[in-house]
Structures are given as C-alpha cells and as structure tokens.
Subunit: 156 residues, 2 copies
C-alpha cells in the first residue's frame, strides 16, 4: 500500500507540504490504516519556534496536508475505492483550526493521526492529533472540499 499523496495525479503532486514532485517541499506522507490515517514527520533543526520547540506554522502545515489526504481517503472509502491503492482525489482546505495544547519538543519524530468526522459529497471534516514523544501537543479540525474547477489546469 502506498502513501495517499503518492497517488495524487502528477498535475497535483507539486504541493509544498506533500507533493512528491516539489523538490523543496516537506513531503508529508499519510498512510491509510483501518479508517484512520497516520503520518510521521521528522522536523529539521531549523523548524523551530524558539530553541528546543517546533515551529507552530510547521505544525499547521503538517495538519493541513495530512487532513487533505485523510479527507480524500474517507471520500474514497465512501464510494468503494481503496485508499492507498486507487488514485487519490485532490481536496483543498476551506478552513483550518489548530489548538496548540503544549509546546512541541524539537527532536522526536512527530506522529499525526486523523479521522474524518463528517463525510459529504463535496465537503469532509477531519479531526487530527499530533503527538511528540507520546504526548499530545496539538489538535486540528480541518474542513476539506473537493478541488474547485477554478483551480484546475486548463483541460484537466
């Protein structure tokens, strides 16, 4: 089984957060596991807010990309497709809410888990948790919508 982002069509694989074809990006990868999805990310030493702590904007970015993949996986499951095997549809973020529960230590791998809490035809709402060294450090709630036609390349 592949990461959900590895199954985005090539035209939509340039996202700075999760696109496999973006040479400068973060390359977030989300694995579908029994109705939830999991991503692991190792921050770089410069991804800091203050010395010793992870930058909140990175946390928001990870939650965002991971939630889009989860929304796609949940939407696929609802229509009989297989997340991690069939092509992943591209969702975009309508709104992103991140609560920073405690300072996130810089060093340990970050683990994001998420689950769709509402799956509509066009809109999926996703809840995300982010842990570092087994402590829950941040929580997200993300509203994802199917990519609007205004964002498609001509002819796509």
């Amino acid at each position: 089984m592949k990461a959900l982002q590895d199954l985005y069509p090539d035209d939509f694989a340039y996202c700075y957060g999760c696109g496999r074809l973006n040479a400068h990006g973060l390359h977030v990868k989300s694995e579908w596991q029994d109705g939830e999805s999991v991503a692991r990310f190792q921050p770089a030493s410069y991804h800091m807010a203050l010395p010793g702590f992870v930058y909140g904007g990175l946390i928001a970015s990870l939650i965002d990309c991971h939630a889009m993949a989860t929304a796609a996986g949940a939407s696929m499951q609802a229509t009989g497709a297989t997340p991690g095997v069939d092509p992943t549809p591209r969702f975009v973020t309508a709104s992103l809410q991140v609560d920073y529960l405690r300072p996130t230590p810089l060093g340990p791998e970050l683990v994001l888990r998420s689950r769709a809490i509402e799956v509509g035809e066009r809109k999926v709402v996703v809840a995300v948790t982010l842990h570092a060294a087994d402590a829950e450090c941040a929580r997200g709630r993300v509203v994802a919508v199917r990519m609007p036609s205004a964002m498609r390349a001509p002819g796509a």
Copy 2:
C-alpha cells in the same frame, strides 16, 4: 521604526517564520502602523499548493507569525511602550484559525493586515486579513499568549 520581529530579544529570534537569526526561515516582518500591523511577503515559486496557487500552510505560517507580532504590539501599546522602537515581547500561539476564502494566486506579493480585537494581560486575540492583488484570499483569528516560562531557556 523597525519591524516588530527585529526587536525580539536575540534568544527569541530563531523562529522559522519570523526570526531574523534563522538562516533557513521565512523572515516575516511586521510594521506597526497606527494601531494595526502590516506585513508584506513574496512567496517563492515552490511555495505552491497546486501550480499557480499559494500553499495554504505558508498562509497559515504567515498569519501565525504576523499575529504574534501584532499581539506584542498591542500589548506594548496598552502598557505605554512604543511598538517598533522598544523591545518586542514574545507571544506564542494558543490557537490558530484560518479561513481560506478563495485560492490565493502565486505571483503577487501577499499583504497581511491585523489588529488586536481583545487585549488582556496574558492573552491577546488578533484578527488578520491576507490579500493578493487586492483580493482578500484568507482571514485568520489567532489567540496569542505571553510565552510561558516552560519555554524560556534556563536563566532567561
């Protein structure tokens, strides 16, 4: 008058989003202007969500750092200090809400404006708008709190 981030104490100037001492960072700079603060940012070509559009995680990062500076400026003003002249106190993000109103075109400079809508001793709530080419593309609401002592370096 200096950017608010240029007046963070050195120990707190390593933020990936806005620290002047982070060599890899975004270097967001917010100018205090008559009770609001303004930041301008030119995304790189690789800061994309899809070809032609700005990555939402970058937008969240800009809103986050700009809001922390605005919270500090409003807090300074409330206590008689001068934002952009006196040292800027460090706030951290308790929660971040971003609404993506429309796809943000990649190319034009992004302009963020923000204002504190609630100023407490410990907590400041900030509203942010983000425009590209004169269109409002995103809106943020950010809860900032004074940096907790658990995040200070020993002896700071």
